[in-house]
Amino acid sequence: MYLKTVLRWISCLRPMKHRHSLLAILCGLLLLAGAAFGQESAFERLSPKAQPLSPEAAFDVRTEQQGKNLVVTMDIEKGYYLYSDRLSLTSDGTPVARLDATRTQTKQDPNFGQVEIWHDHARVVFGPVTGQVRLVWQGCEEAGLCYPPQSRNLTIDADGLVASLAQAGGRVWVILAFFGFGLALSLTPCVLPMVPIVAGMIGAQTSKTSPARGFGLAAIYVLAMALAFSLIGAVAAISGANLQIILQTPWAVGTMVALFVLLALSSFGVFELSLPQQITARIGKIAPKPGHPARAALLGFSSALIIGPCVTAPLAGALVYIAQSGDLVLGLAALFALGLGQGMPLLAVGLFGATILPRMGPWAIVVNRSMGVLFLALAIWLCARILSAPMILALWSALFVGLGGAMLGRARLGNALGAIALVIGCTQAVGAALGADDPLRPLEPLRASRTPEQPSHKEAFRPVASLADYHSALATGQPTLLYVTADWCTSCRSIDRHVLSDPLIKDALKDWQTLMLDVSQINPERQTMMDALGVVGPPTMIFTQGGQNERLLGEISLRDMQAQLKTAHASQ
C-alpha cells in the first residue's frame, strides 16, 4: 500500500513539475493525507459481505516437495471452483507432467459447453522437476466472477540431503554435517572391523611407538581411507554404476582378501622366519613392514572397501547428489568428510593404543599373532560377500580349529582358550556340513528340521521378479513394504535379527504386503529396478501407502521401524 501511494505520488508529481510545481506539491500532500486516512481510491467498494473473496482466501493452495515431485494441495472455498486445465506447473516455460490428480467434475453449462473443474479439494502431483518452477492456477466464484490467473514461483530443491543442507547453510555446512554423520556412524558394525586393523597396525611394531607416532599412523590411515571412500563413491555416482557392483565383484573382494591374508602372514612372522630370503624381500615390499606410514596408507585405502558397501542415508544422499547435480566437488568433499568422521575413533585407537599395547617381550608377540588372527577373520568376513554361507562356516571352522591347535599346550590360559576355539571350530564344521547359513547359529538346521517353527521373516517377504511385478503389487492399493537386502549386507543381517523378527513389528506388518528385492547377485533386471526406484543399495526399505512413499536407509533400528509404521498407520 505504501509503495502504491509513493508511485501514485511520483506519477502525479512528475508531469507537472515544471509548470505547476505548487499544484504538484498540493497533489502530493493530498495523496499523502489520503493515504494517512486509508483512502486508497476515489471509488467506494461494496461492504465486504457483498464482495467475493480475494483469490488468496478463495483458493488455499499449498505445495510440498516429495522427492523430485511437487504435490499441490488446493482447498477451495464453498461456492468457488478451480479449472483443471488452467492449473499448470512450468519449468523454463515447459509444462511439467501431471503424475496424479484428483478426479475432476465436469461442469456442464448449456451456454458454455463443458469444462473440467475441481470443487472443495484437489490434489495434483507434478514431476519430476528440479530448479525454478512456476505454478499457475485459475478459478471462479459460482455466483459470477472469474479470477485472473494466480501464480507462485517455487524452487524445487535438487532431491536429497546434500542439496537441502547446502540450501540451509552453504557448502561448509554440508561438509560439517557429513563429518557429524560420519561420527555418528563410526560405531556401527560397518566401521568397527577397522578398529582391530588400526590396533594391529600400531601394536604390531617392534620398536617403541610414541603416542604421537601412533596418532600419526592412524591419521594417515584415516586420511587414506576417507580419500578412497570418496573416490570410490564419486566414480560409482558418475558412472551410474552401483556401488555394490563395484565392491562386490569377486576380484575386488579377492584382492582385499589376499591383502588381509598377506598381512596376517606378516603378523605371524612368516616372512621373517621360514621363507627364503628372496621371496621374503619381494613380498616384504608388497606388504610394507608394520608401523610403516606406507602400510598405514595402503591399509587405509583398502579399508574403504569395508565401509563402502554399508549403505547409510548420508552415503546414499551424497551419491544421489553427485549423480543428479554433477557437482563433483561438493559431493566428493561430503563423502570425504563422512569418511573422516567415521575414522575419528580410530585416531583415538592410534593415540591410546600405542600406550596401552605392549611392545616388548613375549606379550608383544602374542599381540602380533592375535592381530594375524584378526586379519584372517576379516578376510573370511569379506569372503562372505562372494562365497556361499556353508563355505564361510567351513572357513570359520578352519580358523578356529587352527587357532585352538596353536594355543593348546601353551600355559594354562592357552589351553583353556584353545579348547574353546576348538569347540567353536568343530561346531562351525558341523554347521557347514549341515548347510547352515548363519555362523552365529551353526546348528540352526538341526532345530529347524525338528520343530517347524512359524515362518521366519524371510518367507513372509515375497521376492519381486521385476519392476512390472512391483508396480502391479502397488496397484492393488494395499500398503506395501519393499525391502532391498543382500546376503553380504551386514546391516541387513542385523535388521533381520533384531527388527524384522520382533513380534511387535511382525504384528504391525500384518496388513502390509511385504516384498523383497534380493540383490546378493546383481543382474540387469535387478539393476534396472534399483535405478528405477532410486535405491543406492541394501538395506533400503520403501513404505508405500496411499500413493505416498517413504524410505528408511542403512542400519534401521527397531525404533525407526516402529516410528515409520506408526506414522504410516496414522495416515491410513
Binding site: 508531469p15 481510491s41 467506494e44 458454455f112 469444462v115 459470477g144 466472477l145 472469474c146 485472473p148 490467473p149
Partner: protein, 200 residues
C-alpha cells in the same frame, strides 16, 4: 532483494510513464472517459457504466445480454466495455482484434460477436466468430498492428485500473463512485445505474 528489484522496475516504469492526460489511470476521469477506450450507447449520456470483462469469462458472456438490454432501454446510458483479458493469450488476441476492428468502425459488431460465443475459445474460433459476423479479420489484424502502441497501452491501463480499483476478477462494474464486483442481474444493474444517476 527481489522485492527491491521489482520496486526499481516499477518505479522506473512510473517515471517513464507518458506525461499529460494519462498521468493517473485511477482518476475517475480516466476510468469513465479514457480517450482511447471505445464507448457504446449515448456518447454524451448522463451516466457512464464501466465493465471490466474477458471474452472467455463465462459470467461476462452470460451477463452480456442483460447489459445490452438495459442499455437499449436507457437512452441516457453510456457504456464503456474495458477489455481485461485474464484468460490467457487467446483472450488477449481477441481483445486486440476487436479493438482493431474499432479502428475500422466495426466495434460493436465484433464485441457482440465474441460475447455471443460459447465457452472457451481458440484463435480459430475467434476468427470464425468475427468472420461470421461480417468482420474482416485480416483488416482488423492490420488495424491493430498499426495502432498496436495505443491499443496495448490501453490494455495495460485497463489492467492497472481493474487491479488498482481492487477488482478480484471479471466481470467488474463501475457506476458513479461505486464498484460492483461480479455478474449483476437486471435488477441489480438498474439499481446501480439509478444510484449513480442520483449522484451517489
Amino acid at each position: 532483494m527481489i522485492a527491491r528489484r521489482n520496486f526499481l522496475i516499477i518505479a522506473s516504469a512510473a517515471l517513464a510513464a507518458p506525461s499529460g492526460s494519462y498521468a493517473d489511470p485511477l482518476a475517475p476521469d480516466m476510468v469513465f472517459h479514457d480517450p482511447d477506450a471505445p464507448a457504446l450507447g449515448h456518447p454524451q449520456g448522463d451516466v457512464t457504466l464501466v465493465e471490466f470483462f474477458d471474452y472467455q469469462c463465462p459470467y461476462c458472456k452470460r451477463n452480456h445480454p442483460v447489459v445490452e438490454e438495459v442499455m437499449a432501454q436507457d437512452p441516457g446510458l453510456r457504456l464503456v466495455m474495458k477489455d481485461w483479458p485474464v484468460f490467457g493469450p487467446v483472450s488477449r488476441r481477441a481483445s486486440q482484434l476487436v479493438l482493431g476492428a474499432h479502428e475500422g468502425g466495426g466495434y460493436e459488431t465484433a464485441l457482440n460477436a465474441l460475447m455471443a460465443t460459447q465457452a472457451r475459445l481458440s484463435n480459430q474460433q475467434v476468427d470464425k466468430a468475427l468472420k461470421d459476423a461480417g468482420i474482416q479479420v485480416g483488416a482488423a489484424e492490420r488495424n491493430y498492428e498499426n495502432a498496436s502502441k495505443k491499443i496495448d497501452a490501453l490494455l495495460v491501463r485497463n489492467d492497472t485500473q481493474a487491479t488498482g480499483l481492487g477488482f478480484f476478477g471479471t466481470p467488474g462494474f463501475v457506476a458513479g463512485r461505486t464498484l460492483y464486483p461480479g455478474a449483476l442481474d437486471r435488477k441489480a444493474l438498474m439499481a446501480a445505474i439509478q444510484s449513480a444517476r442520483s449522484g451517489r
